[in-house]
Symmetry: C2
Subunit: 415 residues, 2 copies
């Protein structure tokens, strides 16, 4: 049996114990995990140093190496994250609906764990701990498949966490790490119907595309965000400038940052030049439509390919549109249904935008950067779903549960 299948089978067996764990048992386990990470930090940092050294040898960029790097402070922060999950309400075992049928059957719909969750992700080793904490808190088993760049770190972290579980009521087998760094192990996970109940990919566009295109296990798609800000005629310049600048510049590498700024022609005529200067001063590369370039010659020509690209970088497209409808058409064509914003003082246009844009989150007069489980007050985030089934937008703990109907009778049969 392959490593992947064997570990998934162990996780599935453990899931049948996990779904009976009480909130207290799960919380005690998370606290034990947090303590163990801090106690064992020296060995974790030593393993991490191997990953860093190998990465440097491979020519990995210093910015990526920095994301990979673990320090005592970062490990402390990761452990604190587990403790925060302990404080969150347990979404398992809630009676979501309860009703009696005329024939006397009593039907209850209750929240239950999903079962076994496969997580496929890239570099940063903090995801290993976060995902373990969130999945175990919700009564699930989890099979982690992190990026090969962090393999030594992930191996040591999971060793530490599993050892911590041994002293708790939770089965250590509920936490599994796939150590095979080859693409084959991912491909195998994607087809493990019957062992994995869901696969959640977290990472870049190509990782997510591979999962969506090849998985037969149900997937929760996360991440890709081509987000727009549309500035309407008559919008406040200061507000529009601040929101657009924040959406693009505050953290360009993340999915809820803006890629394309859509401007009503009348706003653009008055304000585009000074708006563009703000971005240029911040070293944002501009790509614009012809009308944009007439006002901002520094902008390079923009193509449909640009409009369809998630830059995750200091690059921004600008397009001038005739009206709201043209903006809506652009968003419908190029958006990824993640986060979309309108800046306007016109109530009717705002209502239209909020109603008609098909996205996980739509904003009126606020930055798209707020699409985030912590910013929404969920206290945790397993990812941001960009699909419509099961969960949409920031996913807190309830996204890691499903439901079960319990039906109580006294001999009812169907006539």
């Amino acid at each position: 049996m392959s490593e992947v299948r064997e570990k998934a089978a162990l996780a599935k067996s453990a899931a049948q114990v996990m779904n009976r764990m009480t909130t207290q048992q799960k919380n005690e386990a998370l606290l034990a995990m947090a303590d163990a990470l801090v106690e064992q930090q020296a060995s974790i940092i030593a393993a991490n140093a191997e990953d860093i050294e190998r990465g440097r040898g491979n020519g990995t960029s210093e910015s990526l190496l920095d994301r990979l790097k673990l320090t005592p402070e970062r490990i402390h922060g990761i452990a604190e994250g587990l403790k925060q999950v302990v404080e969150l309400p347990d979404p398992v075992g809630l009676t979501l609906e309860s009703f009696q049928r005329p024939n006397g059957l009593r039907v209850e719909k209750i929240s239950v764990p999903l079962g076994v969750i496969g997580m496929i992700y890239e570099a940063r080793p903090n995801v290993t701990v976060d995902a373990a904490g969130l999945c175990l808190k919700t009564g699930n088993s989890v099979v982690l498949r992190g990026g090969s760049a962090a393999l030594a770190s992930n191996q040591r972290i999971v060793e530490v966490l599993r050892a911590a579980l041994e002293s708790t009521a939770l089965p250590a087998d509920a936490l599994q790490l796939v150590e095979d760094p080859s693409r084959a192990s991912v491909d195998e996970m994607l087809k493990l119907n019957g062992l994995l109940d869901v696969v959640i990919p977290r990472g870049g566009a190509s990782l997510i595309r591979n999962v969506v295109e090849n998985a037969t296990v149900p997937v929760i798609e996360t991440g890709a965000g081509i987000c727009h800000t549309f500035v309407d005629a008559g919008a406040s310049f200061d507000m529009a400038s601040d929101i657009a600048f924040n959406a693009k510049v505050q953290r360009p590498s993340v999915c809820n940052s803006m890629e394309t700024l859509l401007l009503h022609e009348s706003f653009a005529a008055e304000h585009l030049r000074s708006l563009a200067d703000r971005f240029l001063t911040a070293s944002v590369e501009l790509r614009g439509c012809e009308r944009t370039r007439a006002l901002v010659p520094e902008a390079a020509p923009v193509s449909d390919t640009d409009f369809a690209t998630e830059y995750n970088d200091y690059i921004m497209n600008i397009r001038i549109v005739d009206d709201l409808d043209q903006a809506l058409g652009h968003i419908a064509r190029f958006g990824t249904m993640h986060s979309e914003c309108i800046v306007t003082e016109n109530a009717e246009n705002a209502a239209n935008f909020m109603q008609r844009v098909d996205a996980a989150a739509v904003y009126h007069n606020a930055s798209t950067r707020f699409t985030d489980g912590f910013e929404f007050g969920f206290g945790a985030e397993i990812g941001i779903s960009t699909q419509k089934l099961h969960a949409r937008g920031p996913m807190g703990l309830p996204a890691l549960t499903t439901t079960k109907f319990r039906v109580f009778g006294n001999g009812q049969i169907r006539g």
Copy 2:
């Protein structure tokens, strides 16, 4: 552009109108559809006669032909079904959550249509109308791909329904029928990411397997049901016999019927013989474990393949188990997480079973045949989900919606 892609694109354009339709507009459309079916029944029955004749020529069994056949009474019943959907509450546009963040952002989570639903199904033309009604009522567009055996019926029905929509506020393009009867049209639908938001297969195991294995569009898996009834030690003979008999015999062709009867050894020792006689008298073919065959020599030997087969027929497996744990192990191994039942007077065993069995619906002292949207009081059913994401068990109208976060600010940016 292929037929499938062209029709899906039309459906997607129409979805942007559909999601703004009011409850009244949608209900008026469904009533117009119901009236048109009755008014145009002669032409529908004529088209159906072509299907019947072609089917008879192909050697289709009379029982399948009967399922395919439309009569004035059946068309009247189908139209009545649409009128019942009119009476159901509209699940779209509900504010499911609403909260204010410390920074002043107001966040609303509202229910919205899924968008464009692909339905892939087999013979019976009533599904064409049912699916159209449920999808339109929930503000979705739908692309129907029915079985080739009902093609002429489906073509005429959809023609009638689209003509009826012309007189309403709803865009006729929200309702599309794929007419290409080849397997290629199904395969193409399964990959239409960006045009279809979800695919729902309804039909036999091979249809569903093909969809699950090949779709890159998110799927709601429905249908396959290997359901068990476990009769515990000390269960009432009459109750156990009635529940098991109902679960197997009342309608063996459907997914919530029982395939395998699990008997505690002490119950079996006392009652198996008379229980078996009841099934044999009803011409149910029995396949049993060795201990079963010692008591019921008429039973053929049962194999693991039998335990893993959804017969949908008058065939039943019987296995004698030592205790509840062995029954739970059998269900975990062979069940399809659809519907599972325990018949017992032992409260602790009942609680254990209801907690530990991982299925869409678990029953204490009632027939598994109740897993059904109408029996649960949902007033409609688009199918029975056997997956854990999005919807589990009988799916009523809310299963055809997703959610959207609307965020209202006054210039908030992220710090």
